[in-house]
């Protein structure tokens, strides 16, 4: 019966003193274990990297495409404008009147006149290879080409301002048609938006895929070491000590996947740059395909690592939770 109701009861089990060197040594050991585990199962690890890499590559490619569209858009910022087409035979005074009106607009940066005679000469020069066409033009009683005005607008002019300017010009004497050149730009911007949204949706889906692949791989790693984890728990390993190597698995798989994704992107960009430049060049669109820089690469690695850790956390939460209690 002795000592049954000691006054000291209710004490808490003393905690060991926290030492930073212990914390670092735990991490070193976890990293070493991860390297050992991965190097012993290199085939399956490469497979995981490839799966995660493919899952990361598509959204990363869309992001890169979107950045290129934006760069193209930015490249066109200095070129937006209007083209004013006059009816054939419009008097120079009417053309001058339109020019004067345009100069009053704050949206207009520059005006370049191509009169009917100049347009004809340029056309003749451009058609020099076709002698029958130039001969036919010479025989015409009057110049069939109209005068035109190329109007450059200030870079921050909105589409609404251009529309309003166009409305003013359409009603003037001699003006046949006014074309807003920003239509192409708007198309590009719509395309950029589409790619951005598509990238976001696919990014979320493929990120989920990367998380699930990592979670499944880490779960398999946990299953293969379950007995070891039980023993570790019995000899006093903390929950953090038990789960830490598996979080490093997540980091390793995520980083490896991101490196694979970067390699896939680099190969794809190299493969498509020449045909893409040729294709867009044929539409007089000056294109320089932008690859990915250091920031993009670091972001990709960071995202890969983050997704890997999330996947590992999912697996660890599912599987390691009861290890301390199930110690046998």
């Amino acid at each position: 019966m002795a000592g049954k109701s000691s006054a000291n009861r209710g004490k808490r089990w003393p905690a060991p003193a926290f030492r930073l060197s212990d914390w670092f040594s735990d991490h070193r050991r976890a990293i070493a274990e991860t390297f050992e585990f991965v190097s012993l199962r290199l085939g399956s690890s490469l497979f995981v990297w490839l799966l995660v890499g493919i899952a990361l590559a598509l959204p990363a490619a869309l992001r890169l495409a979107q950045q290129n569209f934006v760069a193209l858009d930015d490249g066109w910022q200095g070129q937006p404008g209007l083209t004013v087409y006059f009816t054939v035979g419009t008097e120079p005074d009417n053309v001058a009147g339109v020019q004067a009106q345009l100069r009053q607009s704050s949206s207009v940066a520059a005006i370049q006149l191509t009169d009917a005679e100049q347009a004809l000469q340029e056309f003749m020069a451009a058609s020099a290879d076709s002698s029958s066409l130039t001969a036919a033009l010479v025989r015409l009683p009057e110049n069939p080409l109209p005068a035109t005005l190329q109007v450059s607008v200030v870079s921050d002019a909105s589409l609404e301002e251009l529309g309003a300017l166009r409305e003013q010009l359409v009603g003037l004497d001699g003006v046949d048609e006014v074309v807003i050149e920003r239509t192409w730009l708007e198309l590009l911007r719509n395309l950029t938006q589409l790619v951005e949204r598509l990238g976001l949706i696919l990014g979320v889906l493929f990120a989920l895929g990367a998380v699930l692949v990592t979670a499944a791989s880490v779960r398999l790693a946990i299953e293969s070491r379950l007995e070891e984890l039980r023993v570790l728990s019995l000899v006093g390993a903390t929950r953090a000590q038990i789960r830490r190597p598996f979080l490093y698995f997540g980091v390793f798989y995520g980083l490896g996947g991101a490196v694979v994704a970067a390699m896939l992107l680099a190969i794809t960009l190299t493969a498509i740059e020449a045909p893409l430049t040729a294709l867009l060049g044929s539409y007089d669109i000056p294109v320089h395909v932008h690859g990915f820089g250091v920031v993009f690469l670091l972001t990709l690695l960071g995202v890969g690592m983050g997704l890997g850790v999330i996947g590992a956390l999912v697996a660890v939460r599912q599987r390691i939770r009861g290890v301390q209690e199930m110690a046998d």
Binding site: M1, A2, G3, K4, S6, N8, R9, G10, K11, R12, W13, P14, A15, P16, R19, S21, D22, S25, D26, R29, E227, E228, R230, V231, L232, S233, L234, V235, G236, A237, T238, R239, Q241, Q324, E325, M326, A327, D328
Partner: protein, 227 residues
């Protein structure tokens, strides 16, 4: 001073089976006690409660005046570092060498590699396995594996040493030498609690016994009955 105190401890499993009923008992610090009884008497549950692998349905378990039945997941590992456990099936890590198996509790407790090596060799010396530290467990006999398990349990110099049927797979001579080994650790001040149904061996050692039957204390011989 009592190292271990069970106060009206009951353990009922989810299936309704009551493995222990209203157990009250005390084990003095530095004592060595055998837990006896037939299979299903509650010996393993008794030890599992002590290492925190199970939680008591009712009652309190005190170790050094700390209620370990209410320790919580955060402090449980720190408590387990003070308890050495030996199992009948050894629970050795088969992919790790003898050295690494014995070193496990020390590395978890952040001891430097030099001290780890020194202590591991010391523990292996006590169980007469010095020179076999680089072998894998599968290269050892059953008796040697059991001694590796014992070395791992004592290498961290625990306050309490628990053993669940540690001689179950051993021949009588080896069983006796293992029990004598526990006796030597006990002489160093470790509180030792051994679950065994080898009555003949226990009687020959003349140590205190706590006999369980159907989850209740059937007999105490030299143990402080807390009831």
């Amino acid at each position: 001073m009592s190292a271990i105190v069970f106060e009206r401890v009951t353990k009922r499993f989810d299936n309704g089976q009551e493995a222990l009923s209203e157990i009250s008992v005390e084990f003095a610090s530095g004592s060595m006690t055998f837990l006896t009884g037939h299979s299903g008497a509650g010996k393993s549950t008794f030890l599992r409660l002590l290492i925190g692998a199970e939680t008591a349905t009712r009652g309190r378990i005190y170790v050094d005046d700390v209620d370990i039945s209410r320790l919580g997941a955060r402090r449980m590992p720190w408590y387990r570092r003070e308890v050495g456990v030996v199992f009948q099936d050894h629970n050795l890590l088969l992919e790790h060498s003898v050295f690494d198996n014995v070193a496990l509790p020390l590395r978890i407790n952040h001891l430097g590699e030099r001290e780890v090596a020194s202590r591991v060799r010391g523990a292996l010396g006590k169980v007469e396995l010095l020179g076999k530290e680089h072998l894998m467990p599968s290269q050892l006999s059953t008796g040697e594996q059991q001694r590796v398990g014992i070395a791992r349990a004592v290498v961290g110099r625990p306050k309490i040493l628990l053993a669940d049927e540690p001689t179950g797979n051993l021949d009588p001579d080896l069983a006796r030498s293992v029990m004598e080994l526990f006796g030597r650790f006990n002489e160093l001040g470790t509180t030792v609690l051994i679950a065994s149904h080898d009555i003949a061996l226990i009687q020959s050692l003349g140590m205190p016994t706590l006999n369980l039957a159907a989850g209740r204390i059937a007999d105490t011989n030299g143990v402080l009955d807390g009831g």
